[in-house]
């Protein structure tokens, strides 16, 4: 009886989650007439430079997020409990703005007539070309996905057993050694879920690259979007690219999982 109650959802999942994914695979392996082909997947290889660029930029953005977030999460976790939630709220507040608006904000800041170049202009410098560069794309990724790294790190570090740290210090570890030998290994699940939560949206974004990268820094997401809604309508190729993207993400996640012994992912 109780099992029946989940039947509508199971049906929903089959129709709107499983079947669409099967359709992606089907389109990837067929021509427009529905005949089996490997051409779509073969055609993906001509975009290998875009794939490499996406992986590279997403990886840089993920590393920068980790470097910025780890000290921040440590600080947040040690803040006095009575206003910890307030500080956390202030850190998270920008995330609640739509990401298009946040990215648009950087567009206006980085432009040749933007505020940053106006600032440099005061000293007779510039204008520097900052918009429409790879650096701008990475900056956009870091800015948009930073909270996804902060949150899981904070969750792990806030729950860390203080007596373990004290024990390490009692046994002769200095601060640096405690950090490397005790705190970082114990926060590994948070690091891993932070990496996942930043890397996956970063590698598949298509708006950040278009708004901040101009036309010359296309990413995988732009490539997919162009096949479905852009000028070069080709859902078969688009499906093939999506499939390759999913495989790449799956591979990278599997590799990352090797570093993470516990399966206790700390999701939001």
């Amino acid at each position: 009886m109780k099992k029946l109650i989940s039947a509508p959802y199971l049906l929903w999942m089959a129709v709107f989650i499983i079947i669409p994914l099967i359709m992606v695979a089907y389109f990837a392996f067929t021509t427009t007439d529905g005949a089996f082909t490997l051409d779509n997947l073969a055609a993906v290889s001509q975009y290998s430079n875009i794939f490499i660029r996406s992986i590279w930029l997403a990886a840089i953005a993920t590393v920068i997020c980790l470097i910025i977030s780890y000290p921040l999460a440590l600080i947040l976790a040690r803040i006095d409990k009575s206003y910890q939630s307030t500080v956390l709220m202030i850190v998270m507040l920008p995330m609640w703005m739509n990401f298009l608006l946040r990215t648009y904000a950087w567009m206006t800041l980085l432009g040749n007539n933007g505020l940053i170049n106006a600032f440099f202009g005061l000293f007779g410098l510039g204008p520097f070309k900052m918009l429409n560069t790879q650096g701008a794309v990475v900056l956009g990724m870091v800015y948009n996905y930073l909270p996804f790294m902060i949150l899981p790190l904070y969750n792990v570090l806030a729950k860390l057993d203080k007596s373990v740290i004290e024990a390490a210090q009692d046994l002769g570890c200095n601060n640096t050694k405690t950090l490397i030998k005790v705190i970082v290994p114990l926060s590994m699940p948070g690091i891993m879920s932070g990496i996942t939560m930043v890397f996956v949206p970063a590698i598949s974004t298509f708006i950040i690259s278009r708004m901040l990268g101009g036309g010359s820094n296309l990413l995988i997401g732009d490539l997919i979007e162009m096949q479905f809604l852009g000028n070069s309508y080709n859902p078969n190729l688009g499906a093939a690219i999506s499939l390759v993207l999913m495989v790449i993400i799956l591979l990278i996640m599997t590799i990352l999982n090797q570093f993470d012994e516990d399966d206790d992912r700390v999701l939001m």
């Binding site: 959802y9 910025i68 206006t108 007539n113 997401g221």
Partner: protein
């Protein structure tokens, strides 16, 4: 050390807030310049409220978010109850399926649903619009509802449901009187999460909405593609204020309830 961490915190805050702060300041600028502030005006706000496209898409966004999050909450709550009573293997399988939209890149979710809708649109003669958009939103919302409710079952004492029945409740009334109140916090947080995700979603909506069902994020996107328009700045300022008020209110309510518990 204390001082250093304060400086670090301040620097990160500066990074997070500077772009938004600049948007807000320039929403009051007389000219369209993004770097020179030449005078104070409310014109962009007035223009914003007279912009029919923005107002319609705001309404669309709210309609879609309300319908999708309510339906997702009902569907997800029912699903969680069923999944909870499943045996281990089917449970794991269903949970893995549930995780797919969370793990998959949004663009793949959007594209895969678009393929499905295109397939049916050609055969059943319907167009992309509210229906496809709401279906898509429910699809990416339900997993979050389920994931919010499942832990509540784990924390619940399984005997109380049977105890209620022993004391004369029918299975249905035992559910509503005993189980539902226990999982209610999960249901509510699942609903709120769905609602905010729906309000904020761009990528999936971009692939599944039609010309008549543009949501606010889609309108914002097309505005950023065209020339500079300080109306966006005005819009950002309003959204920022709304978010700020909601979060501060939430924080105060939570703090009060913590204090109350402390008194008890």
């Amino acid at each position: 050390m204390k001082k250093l961490s304060k400086i670090y915190l301040a620097l990160v805050m500066l990074f997070l807030y500077m772009p938004i702060f600049v948007l807000i300041v320039f929403s009051f600028n007389v000219t369209k310049s993004r770097s020179v502030f030449s005078g104070f005006t409310f014109d962009w706000y007035i223009k914003l409220f007279h912009n029919e496209l923005i107002m319609t898409s705001l309404l669309n966004t709210i309609i879609v978010a309300v319908i999708a999050s309510v339906l997702a909450t009902v569907l997800g709550t029912a699903a969680a109850i069923g999944i909870n009573s499943m045996k281990k293997l089917p449970k794991t399988l269903v949970m893995q399926g549930t995780n797919i939209p969370i793990i998959n890149p949004e663009i793949v979710t959007g594209v895969s649903l678009m393929l499905l809708f295109v397939f049916f649109a050609a055969r059943m003669n319907f167009e992309f619009g509210f229906v496809t958009l709401i279906i898509a939103h429910i699809t990416f919302n339900v997993p979050y509802v389920i994931l919010n409710i499942m832990p509540k079952f784990r924390q619940m004492n399984p005997n109380i449901y049977e105890a209620a029945q022993d004391l004369g409740c029918s299975p249905v009334s035992a559910f509503f009187k005993v189980v539902l109140p226990e999982i209610m916090p999960g249901v509510i947080s699942g609903f709120l999460m769905s609602f905010t995700f729906s309000l904020d979603d761009f990528v999936v909506s971009y692939f599944t909405s039609g010309a008549t069902s543009q949501t606010l994020p889609i309108t914002i996107y097309s505005m950023t593609r065209r020339k500079v328009s300080p109306e966006i700045n005005a819009l950002s300022t309003i959204i920022f204020l709304v978010v700020l008020i909601v979060l501060v209110a939430k924080n105060i309510i939570e703090r009060r309830s913590v204090l109350k518990k402390g008194v008890k």
